[in-house]
Amino acid sequence: MTKKRSLLLALIFASGLVACGEKPAPAPKAAEPAKSAAPAPEAKAEAPAITDTLKKIADTGVIKIGHRDASIPFSYLDGDQKPVGYGVDICLKIADAVKAKLNKPDIKVEFVPVTSQTRIPILTGGNIDVECGSTTNSVKRQEQVSFAPTYFVTGTKIIVKKSSGIKGYDDLKGKTVVFTTGTTNERAMKAYNDEKKLDINFIPSKDHAESFLAVETGRAVAFPMDDILLYSLKASAKNPDDYVVIGDFLSDDPYAPMIRKGDPEFKKLVDGVLGDLYKSGEINKLYAKWFESKIPPKGINLNFPMSAGLKEAIKNPNDTGVGDCGKMKC
């Protein structure tokens, strides 16, 4: 009996903590009633029309953006440990659109760090509202979450040390390969391994920086990842010339901002933000800023011209996910 009761207490305590985490900062809350005193009943009447995410942001006064720590140049920490990147810029545009839509310029933007493994549960759990990182839009993930239009197109390749002499996937037979857990690349590499019976010894790792460290220190010979991330890891390595990115695309990976499922209102807003970016051509400036200029923290330039796939995705915005086989057309 007492055990049951204490368990219950623990649960209540835990949920209390969660609730605390979602409470808005006191300042906007205090400002809110004064400002919206008159239109309040109207807003209430409209309540069913406002989707969950927008309502949540309006209620809490905070929009929470999920960011990554080493997805260069999409979403990563700069020299001051501040999240920056191509995706972060796009997420900030989404935040601006939310402020405009709700007519609340004082909505706070809060950044929440996520990993490949935690991004989906954290999003569905409500602790972030949108993630703009290096997340592949896949049919499998669409069972859990929803995606905005594709904003980058890449695919799985591997990075190896030049000195390893590895020229293609089949040279990995019996070797050790490190992967970041929870990525589409993990699936693609494992499927290839099963198919070709390469007998690869896999070691899991928690983020891209750690995976790359395993290749750098010689723990693993290869790291399968989206090629753009491999090029940026290579560019920021101690000795970039020691590494080489090889292979044909093992999988297609269209990146897109990730939002909660079943929230058409919020999706429309996010789709609109990206659509405007694409139509106005502003996306080209943003692309040049992150892929063809010097970027923080080290001032490297990725020199990665826009691919035909991305040009196509900008011309015809779409949120088609990659199929279960790892390719756009299964």
Binding site: E143, T176, T181, N193, P204, K206, L213, G218
Partner: protein, 242 residues
Amino acid sequence: MDFSFLNQPAFSGGGVYLDWVISGLKWTLLVSILGWIIAFSVGSLLGILRTAPVAWLRVPATIYVELFRNVPLLVQMFIWYFVVPEIVPKAVGDWLKTQMPMPEFSNAVLCLGFYTASRVAEQVRSGIQSMPRGQTSAALAMGLTLPQTYRHVLLPMAYRIVIPPMTTEFLTIFKNSSVALTIGVLELTAQARQISEYTFRTFEIFTVATIIYALITLTVTFSMRWLENKTRVPGYVGGSSK
């Protein structure tokens, strides 16, 4: 809750997801039990040394305990796995990284073993020091050497006294073994995370993992209680616990 996913074919490796759980359980048990063997032997030695009457035996043991007890386990795991191979001579480092059988597993066992040893040492020391001083004096007066005094007088009772706190350490090593996932050992927690990633059955799979951990720790608790009763000296400390 729907547990049918456990019987679905796993994404890779041929079997079903239940096989992943079983494989995770196997590694959890292996890491913990091998780690405990190291922890118990090294820890016992250190615990005895910490009560030695001469400083040159006592001081190194004390330094070891303070070092290993005060550095977080996660940090130690990373040091063993990422730092040690880089600071030893290159040939040894390369061996550690590529030739050593199951490098992640071996690292995890060593790290967990040496960390827990520092805690076991403290338990053994407290057991020895809880013995009345007179016992040592009496044993020495009867002509036993100091090692004989430890072997026949102090340790037999000290170990009995510390069975309850030792149970806690033994339980803790099973739970701490989950830290091994950070260096890539696919033990129970790592497998649970992996399965949740592939099936999105997060709640169910962690329920399964929780139940398995609970079963392991309950088994340990009951076997240690059995051991305690079995080795009990009638009329002595803890003798009334029945």
